[in-house]
Symmetry: C2
Subunit: 334 residues, 2 copies
Amino acid sequence: MARPPLVDEIDVIGVGNAMVDVLSHENDEFLHRHGLTKGAMHLIDEERARELYAAMGPGVEVSGGSAANTVVGVASFGGRAHYIGKVRQDDLGEVFAHDLRSTGVGYDTPLASSGPPTGRCLIAVTAGAQRTLSTFLGASVRLTSADIDEQLIMRGKIVYLEGYLFDPPAAQEAFRKAARLAHAAGRKVSLTLSDPFCVDRHREAFLDLVLHHVDILVANEAEICSLYRVHDFDAALQRVRGQCEVAALTRGEHGSVITNGAEVHVIDAYPPDALVDTTGAGDLYAAGLLFGLSRGLDLAVCGKLGSLAAAEVISHVGARPMKPLAELAGAVLA
Amino acid sequence: MARPPLVDEIDVIGVGNAMVDVLSHENDEFLHRHGLTKGAMHLIDEERARELYAAMGPGVEVSGGSAANTVVGVASFGGRAHYIGKVRQDDLGEVFAHDLRSTGVGYDTPLASSGPPTGRCLIAVTAGAQRTLSTFLGASVRLTSADIDEQLIMRGKIVYLEGYLFDPPAAQEAFRKAARLAHAAGRKVSLTLSDPFCVDRHREAFLDLVLHHVDILVANEAEICSLYRVHDFDAALQRVRGQCEVAALTRGEHGSVITNGAEVHVIDAYPPDALVDTTGAGDLYAAGLLFGLSRGLDLAVCGKLGSLAAAEVISHVGARPMKPLAELAGAVLA
């Protein structure tokens, strides 16, 4: 299949569950009282979302969604980025679309005009900048393969897919269609495992994807250990090595490890200016990694860009960068 | 008229235009391009709100509204507070109500089920933490005197009214009704002049209110100078002194001056931990002042509580306190 001219190329196209985050500061007792596992993502229905919201303290609303945060990061590095994900035609849907477009990310997935409201992720921020997520998928469940635009996918050097997309049933087909079209066009497919419990829910599908359909895998330590049902990071690393073109495994303050089979790079974390809110750390690591890979940079440099972006995003509340990452990247790229 | 038993008393009841704030970081060129006067509040219609929002960078949504911020501050000091203001039954209206109630502020103004959406205030934050406001009143214009609950007003030691309430025509009647009921019940009426341009729009009405209907006046330097059409702070101070029971005049980093006619107290500003966003500085000063007055504290102490609350709110993004003001107040009250 003929590749489109370079001028139309997009560095990264993210596909994911479109969400607005609602962040509030809570204590551990709050998590306990509501049966929430610290640090995890919980799927909740509309009624539980209403109950939990009523119990939460005053909130700050910011656009979120894992892959959406990542493509905003790619754009902040100076990359061309696009997003596919579903919101409803309501206030929060408008906020979501505005916040993507105003950062330069292309976004034209048709809005849902009926059905559940725009999805939201209730985030309890507890001591040590820990975040515990409760996700009401909302309109995200309306994403279908009809929303995957073939012409668009062909233009993207990398299509980046959330593991979370396996939660809304119809989105799995959208996920598979995007991967199929990308490969047919000679493009790369990247997957993030998203969350250890998400891996638990979809382990067989993810194992098959990693082996047969994913070029660039992004996972944190808990997720990759969950995928292979091992308790030791190195055991997971040895299992994934060579299973796909690139695997990037993040380990919080211990940095990350990137392997393309032959090479194994151990990358340090960047010390953040302050540790305020870890929401988005993995999403922004992926942004640096994918931006670097889309530009053909060395693996170690890609990892450093990931560390840099993660450090920026955990130094403030919210899962999207507040400083232009292209400026911060100067030191790494020089 | 018999006063209700003390156990049911409310320290402060705020009445104002209910707003959700949308904050984004912009540069001076943005203000210039959109004809915005730095530091001022501009009234805009729905179409202009849409245009301006489209031009703004990614935003953070937080509940706002001047008097609403103030009563949240009163609650944070440990006071009993209530709010009257109109939102619509939509996502942002739900956010507004949640954020008030979750801080302990009573709020039961009936929602508008038709008409314009919940009001929003687009806030461009520029260098030096300056904020420039563009307000789309939205559902606020539906506040009428029917929303002023006589039983509620009688329970409030102080009813606190925004000058901004003079912008939506029907709200003026609500304003006057609240003041009338409060005085009939032997309660205090407090007014903030809100904004120098708001004073320009309603100068004659405000001069009459200050002289005849207001017990506690809150204004910043620009507002009080605008009210009396003078260019010199001391000239304004001499004019307002004795016009109402208490006048509290704020001067940014130069602190504030409080007079009850006989006494004149010059109160220093508190140095904030950081200067991040001045949104809400005046609102939170009013919170400390009114909490102190409602508890019968000395004028100078009331002023210090105001300075303390203002310092807290300018040290982070958003117009509501992030730390419990009751804890911070320990040093002042000891």
